[in-house]
């Protein structure tokens, strides 16, 4: 087990290192350098001499690999630079917006479970019937509907036609718990339906695999009711692969939040990322890319480790 964990950790670090290089190169590919971008926003910097001066101060005149090492060192020590748009420290910006996105994620997982679990279990139990076909089609539809269109349809129905929910905007929990709830209802649902499709399909295939095992036949043979077989024997092992789905959903959430937070004007990480792309706000883009990758990698690592604990066969490979 120790070797397994060490191997996974090493792998994660290697990929992180490669990601940092990729992000560094991507940021350099963006047209104009950070100083010029800052000059566009703040006209005081338009003077060529000042620009040259700043380039030297920020180390942009040095060779690329030196810039990379300095940037990486700063990044690891928590110095993520200053946003060119707002002048705020990127590190603070990031952690100020994180809770909002986390809340959105919690909401979307709730919807995914609420819709995905019953559908998945139902279609596994009624395998190859019209019900199963319907659930599969629904699941594919849930995965395929672009979040922006689903969002627009919901906004049209619930805000424009019925006036039940606010079309956009975010109310912090501390300000008004009810307002917070209603402002996140639609965005979390839109994000949740994508996950629901994934959940349903994974649970279906995982449950089907378990139900085909010998010990399930044994349980049935000794006269247990179908309910007892399901709850007592099939449910637990069938839940193992679900760990992966939650991991996948989490990786998706950050990408999904880009569009959903933009549409619903929610001040989370996604909105921050989109604004940064519009403004060519290098430091924020870099931090967003790196932290997204860190997040995905850490979740993958966690999933692998939980898997290793739950399923001894994996450790040995």
């Amino acid at each position: 087990m120790k070797r397994y964990i060490a191997g996974r950790l090493l792998y994660t670090f290697v990929i992180l290192f490669l990601v940092s290089i990729l992000v560094f190169i991507l940021a350099r590919l963006l047209p104009g350098d950070p100083i010029q971008a800052a000059a566009m926003i703040n006209m005081d910097l338009a003077n060529q001499e000042i620009i040259q001066d700043l380039r030297i101060r920020f180390g942009l005149d040095r060779p690329l690999y030196v810039q990379y090492v300095i940037w990486l060192r700063d990044f690891i020590s928590g110095d993520w630079g200053v946003s060119l748009g707002s002048g705020e420290a990127v590190f603070d910006m990031f952690f100020k917006r994180l809770p909002v996105t986390l809340e959105l994620f919690a909401g979307s997982v709730f919807w995914s479970c609420l819709i995905g679990f019953p559908l998945g279990i139902l279609s596994a139990l009624r395998r190859n019937t019209w019900l199963d076909a319907m659930v599969t089609a629904t699941a594919i539809t849930g995965v395929s509907i672009p979040v922006f269109w689903e969002g627009i349809v919901l906004i049209y129905l619930f805000s424009v036609v019925f006036h039940w929910l606010p079309a956009a905007g975010f109310v912090p929990f501390a300000e008004s718990p009810l307002g917070n709830f209603t402002s996140l209802l639609m965005p979390s649902f839109v994000m949740g339906t994508h996950g629901a499709g994934l959940f349903a399909r994974y649970i279906r295939s995982s449950l089907l695999e378990v139900l085909g095992q010998d010990y399930i036949r044994t349980a049935r043979a000794k006269g247990l009711s179908e309910k007892a077989v399901l709850i007592g024997h099939a449910a637990k092992p069938a839940m193992i692969p679900v760990v992966t789905v939650v991991g996948l959903a989490w990786g998706y959430v950050v990408a999904g939040s880009f569009i959903v937070e933009y549409m619903f004007a929610i001040p989370g990480l996604g909105r921050m990322g989109v604004d940064a792309v519009f403004l060519r706000d290098f430091p924020v883009i870099q931090a967003t890319l790196i932290m997204t990758a860190v997040n995905v990698l850490l979740v993958n690592l966690l999933v692998d480790l939980i898997y290793g604990c739950l399923d001894p066969r994996i450790r040995i490979q």
Binding site: I140, I145, Y156, L248, Y262, L289, L297
Partner: protein, 300 residues
Amino acid sequence: MAIFQRNTKVKPALCRTGALAVSAALLRHKSAGAGMAIIWMLLVMALFAPWLSPHDPNEQDLYHVLQGPSRAHLLGTDDVGRDLLSRVLYGARISLIVGLLSTLTATVIGVFLGLVAGYKGGLIDGFIMRLTDTVMCIPGLILLLVMAAALGPGIHNIIIAISALGWTVFARITRGQVLMVRELPYVEAARAAGASGWRIMFQHLLPNSMAPLIVASSITVGGAIMLESAAAFLGLGVQPPTPSWGEALRVGYSYLEIVPLFSLAPGLMITLAVLAFNFLGDGLRDVLDPRLRGEGDKIK
């Protein structure tokens, strides 16, 4: 030598009669049949847009902006008075071009790298696969937005960006398939017969990796259409006045209360297109490789 090669040559996974059989099976498969019907409809829209459209998609009529459906404009008009139906019909072109071309490029790059990684093994394999993992761990949409911003707007840049993200899936699949068949007797026989590495890769290993690749291609087309419209929705897609569904959705969104069809109609088309390719992919998986059933969502 010739006899040897005839004996060692693998039966292609999809020979002519095979393709016919697959098409027939797909038509029987309900959701895949529906998917194919929608794809045909989209193709007809894209190819015959000039004849189907009641108006010039770029003709502005500033006296009749943001109108609801009428006899002259079946879906109404947009913010500068262009006929929405014509723009929706023409919009199929951008979506299909981006979806198909970027998938094609991604497949070529991915299959090539996957073949090399799987066949050569060792350091090359390690390098290619770590590169794949690196690209895969940043969600596609985010990387696409940054790349679109870096490359600048325009349809070819969107295609380049989506291809640069999409190849990873194909590399992984191809490598996995190659590893599965690499040590089988017929590959060994081909090697013993003196076939070159390239010949073994393209003549013997590739045909046996086709089934999952075709499934993944279909799903990737849907994903590419979705990515393109997402980028356009955020204003980083094809530039106006080119008719594009994502762009129409972006502008129409601001007028949702006045003319809902302005955003709802192009959005429905995007959804249908993505759905069609996903349904087709699902059907292809069932038809081509029953073993893969239910695992489709891992390819994403």
